[in-house]
Symmetry: D2
Subunit: 416 residues, 4 copies
């Protein structure tokens, strides 16, 4: 729990209203931004701008309060959050006064970040790693008396692995995990398995393998956890899925939609690796094709431009054909701090998956596709349609919670 | 009826399936484009790209066929459509081969364009002008055996008139009309009254006074015509109402949304008049404020740049605040031939109002707000929501038509 | 002199190498940025990035060292520089660590900022105001043992005054100044007269009247001061004068060059006043016309968008005609902190005018047109040509200094 | 000679004032545009807009008249110019009326286009191909009684060949050429050798090997032809070399300059080949690095977007550091028909190389670097500096012509 109590935490409220957010990659740029932001919002030093779930559409939905969210995570980096936050302040991304105000919260969160799983140094059966990670999560839950924990994978983008039999068969997967000489699985799989083993909710914010592997997905379904994914829809793809339906509604024929992305920061370096970027590019184009048609010519580049730091700039050039073959061109230029776009969505996902869990929802939540480039369980990419579906789901789920809650005091403890 | 019959016009189909489009300003750039486009689409020399009603969402809706639309109109200009179309071909807007192919259609339409109402030269009671215009329309309907006529006002933008008592009281209005020395009413009012008197459907594609005056509106309701408006949503405002809801859904706070519009052509010159442009600017900003909040700073300029001809270029700069006060900027640049964006919507409006009329709909149709910057009868500006409402309305209206049609042959005569 | 000596200040160097910069509007955004920047550059805590005179082209030119520049000025605001600098740090413009490092320098400079001339509260003969301001400057020079002082007007843009006889006749001007009931002259004229009376160098960084009035100019020439102007060329106009010659060199015909400027901060508010902005707009377009021809259609807007703060964003849309009448469009989008663009040019102007003064140059220096939208004494607007002329002038002036300096020690005391 | 004589062709003017342009790739998009343009300009149906040499700076320089330029060339395509021109008119690039007006000129030029050299089908010694191509050129010159011929290579971009000994040793090169089984040389080399053998002037408008090979260059110097290159500077690079010096002159530090190019047409397809594009990309970045420093991060992409046709759109994003480390961003968007940018430069090069030849200039002409991304014989990339050098060279060369011309009649025959 955050150290500075707010008026929102009424003394009589049961301790088990608290919800944990467990960030895989908790010391990265997104993780650090979540930590600063959660502290200052919970303590009402900043408004929850950028949080979907703080909007009017969610009034009446019994989400956990920001002040009831507790942060922990895994990371292979040992750089303290306070130092990372200082760097992000120096770069101009986070206002220095907020970093200063969040100092105690950052130190608190830092104590709950455990060494992450690193395939490069791992020895022995991978199952041991899964057990170790899961134990970290369950220990965190117990220590803070949390009602539930939501694991969110915000680690770096992985290369797409070559297909293997154990990706499709849970039994084979279990064998590989148990074998000290077993083929190395992607780190995102180990992460997802730990979430499953610990019975946590799970959200995949990266385009990594994780629960896209049928065998991992089968284990998640068997364990009955609630989950959603994949690959946070934060910038260029967000725009595209808001704009593309306009062309379709007006009967225009989109011929091409070209994109150029420039970014520095850690993400820029990761995505400069052609292998790692492949999964990202595929994820970005899929929604576009589904909206305007498979014929669309959609060249897309991501360039690492270190001097731009955490600001991501994306240029899109759209060529559509209108009446009598006339040329319509639209260009968009988007510029924002990538981690500032991602961080509030992490808080949203934690709140919504905690709500789902409380309502007894199990398995994938397709309506959370709103948050993702590559929505699991849904082929809806139209952002407006996703918005409608998310709002409807939230209120339907709220109704389920209300129906199952006998003591009215408990549900009142939730809400914005 | 267009002179070149197509296979769509089955011999046995009753003549009264034909629908008239009566364009006020029929020889302008939009009118000419409609004339060329209607001919080549009806004769299947071009696909109806850019027509909303040609989309998959309208399959099963018994709209009049393009080949069943007949064109007429009023204009104060005497320049033949063939010459105007030639100019538009030379400027690069309409492909020369389409203008050549549409020659017969243009000549046919030209014969149905009557001298328009010109306040500058008008003498006598304005009621006489209304009767004359209405007689032109009913004569057109009779001559072609049309089931119905839809009047669409595509004349130049008017200055906003100063308020007057007769704008609010139908009886006063009737008195002013009958008085040879009566105060001159805006031309768009005379136009709207002629549509009402002739019992036609009516759409207002400009930001002019027209049926925004309560007294005119009362007469329209009393006469029971079907109508929709106002000010075609073709470019920058279309984008804005598609994009703005995205910021809201994601909890971002839009601080400012500045716009610069460059255009030449006749519209550029009209809008260079500060008085005339005032109604346009007000209309453009209203939807934006309703979507992102009244606080938004939204400077907006329209500049007449004659050398750009009919291509309109709009730059928008959006500044939103995201998580922890971080800066998000988005810019859009839109470039297209304005008349090419407007023309297909004229065809859509005619088809949809003809459908409404056939289904017995009377009064304003709020669901056609999809086509307008300033929707009559609706405060919905969110383009996606408008799309959903339009589709639902079209199918509900189709069902009303089906319910009232006893001979199945008649409804089959419709469709895309 | 700045309080923290650097190694550049060799003990044996004569005190009269020091040069004063007297900023009219010294507590504004530009003035504050100059104060922070001068301190940290002089103390080698930051490189002189953005300073023209720090470039390789000026090697060998005996300019005063940054550490030998001493800051003073006039302002009608009493807000201390330290507070203003804190605000600019909070807004994200100046890095907080530089503001912290410059604290002593800011306090020192603040002590040398005297109450400015305020026409709104002035009483008595305006000549008294001129004497008071001039005495402030000569006192500053004496107190610090400065070799020379350069007055730079960075006050807010004024409205263009209506023409009057005293603007053309120095004797009439003197009469008006002496008359306690004389018509109020623009503040920029009082400022310029004080610079003249004090025998200082003078640069006009605003588009105000100042020395554009023939009578003021005549007094400046009579007094033999060195001066340059007008209206700092920092952003959009800088780009235009770099790009326009390219179109001309390639035989392209520029039809139109439209511009939209968005800015907040104090300057945004000032320029929101249609009267004040008129001089700015005229100044911005003059160079463009001189480069691409009087025929160019060049609508230009400056909008006050307070939420954008000190970042200025400018969009330009250029339409040129190429081979066989083909359309060429170019768009530029420029985004930068306006004061950060202006401040280094203030330092450049002070160094260069001090050099000129030392070389015995008198009157206007046309080669400093490089720094201005509306160059005095020159009709060259082509930025590249201005660059060539500036470099040549600097080296020719350096040669004049060398020729007149008998003791070599003195010239060695100068240099980058 | 063009079939329609103009008043410029005075009857008494000696026939040998005529100059041939021999285009390698004469039936491509650029070649066709040159053919249409030359005809309509020579016949005064269009102004020479876009031609550098038609500018005021060239008044008094005795360049061959447009009406004295005669077109011929090589191409491996057999598609007649008239048909290609019709396609370019249909695509909207060339106005149909100009294509119609140029019909006779296109047919005339078409008769002078000979089968090009195609490495894919070549058999026997490559020297035979060189002889055949050279004979085509000398036959053309004789047939039309031309004073001189300028060969311009506008063929498609080649892949960069792997280095080989014969690239450096003229004797080895001659051996390879004579050997029926000799390693295949790049087509651009065969082209250049034919220009050398025929004693023509030569300009390389592509980034191909051609005279960059030391052995080929040695042969050109030995034969004493006049030549210039390489890779036409038409769009994005033109902008860059006009804009980059501005940042340097103002002491700003350019960190990154990223570029995205979209184009369709034949060039788009060629450049979609990663091998072919490598030479282009290298050529584009070289000038930038020389202007702003080797440190610049400059990712650059060229995407083939067939639906965009011949219009090329380029987006550049520039990040520079200004005063106190402040961020300056500039973006440029350039959109134009690529062939319309290139064609006038072909005419310019022919006129200028003909002038040079007449003045007795031999070898490379560094001052024509103005036209090229990768100037031969010069390391000047600054466009403004190139402009100054070109103008000075033209007038100096004109003076050489005047000095060597004894009959005044001859020099009068030249001029714009």
């Amino acid at each position: 729990m955050l150290d500075t109590p707010t008026q929102a935490q009424a003394p009589g409220r049961p301790a088990d209203d608290r919800v944990g957010i467990w960030l895989v990659g908790g010391r990265g740029s997104i993780g650090t931004t979540v930590a600063v932001g959660l502290h200052v919002i919970a303590n009402e030093l900043a408004a929850p701008t950028g949080c979907t779930t703080a909007g009017d559409a969610f009034v009446g939905v019994p989400l956990p309060r920001f002040a009831d969210l507790v942060l922990g995570g895994h990371d292979i980096s040992a750089t303290p959050l306070v130092r990372r936050a200082g760097q992000l302040a120096d770069s101009g991304m986070i206002p220095p006064r907020l970093v200063a105000a969040a100092q105690a919260g950052l130190e608190q969160a830092d104590r709950e970040i455990r060494p992450g799983y690193d395939p490069a140094t791992h020895e022995g059966a991978q199952a041991d790693a899964v057990h170790r990670l899961a134990a970290d999560i369950t220990g965190f839950r117990a220590r803070h008396g949390l009602r539930t924990v939501v694991v969110v994978d915000v680690a770096s983008t992985e290369a797409i692995p070559e297909d293997r039999p154990e990706f499709h068969d849970p039994d084979l997967l279990t064998q590989v995990l148990a074998d000290p000489d077993g083929v190395l699985l992607p780190a995102s799989v180990i992460t997802a398995l730990a979430a499953i083993e610990s019975g946590s909710g799970y959200a995949c914010f990266t385009p990594s393998a994780a629960m896209t592997l049928p065998s991992v997905r089968a284990l998640a379904d068997a364990r009955g956890i609630v989950f959603a994914g994949q690959d946070g829809k934060t910038g260029e793809t967000l725009l595209r899925t808001a704009i593309a339906p306009m062309f379709v509604a007006r009967g225009m024929h989109v011929h091409s939609w070209a994109g150029a992305n420039l970014l520095g920061g850690g993400d820029g370096a990761t995505l400069a690796d052609p292998e790692a970027v492949r999964s990202k590019l595929a994820s970005k184009t899929r929604g576009l094709r589904s909206l305007v048609g498979e014929h669309v010519v959609a060249p897309l580049h991501i360039d690492n431009v270190p001097d731009l730091g955490d600001i991501k700039t994306a240029w899109d050039h759209i060529h559509a054909e209108g009446f009598l073959g006339s040329r319509i061109t639209m260009q968009t230029i988007w510029s924002a701090y990538d981690s500032m776009l991602a961080a509030p969505l992490i808080l949203d996902l934690a709140r919504l998956l905690a709500l789902a869990e409380r309502a007894g929802v199990r398995g994938v939540v397709p309506e959370l596709g709103f948050f993702f480039k590559d929505p699991w369980g849904s082929d809806v990419h139209d952002f407006s349609q996703q918005t409608t579906e998310l709002h409807a789901w939230a209120h339907a789920t709220a109704a389920r919670v209300a129906a199952t809650t006998t003591t009215s005091g408990q549900s009142e403890a939730f809400g914005r």
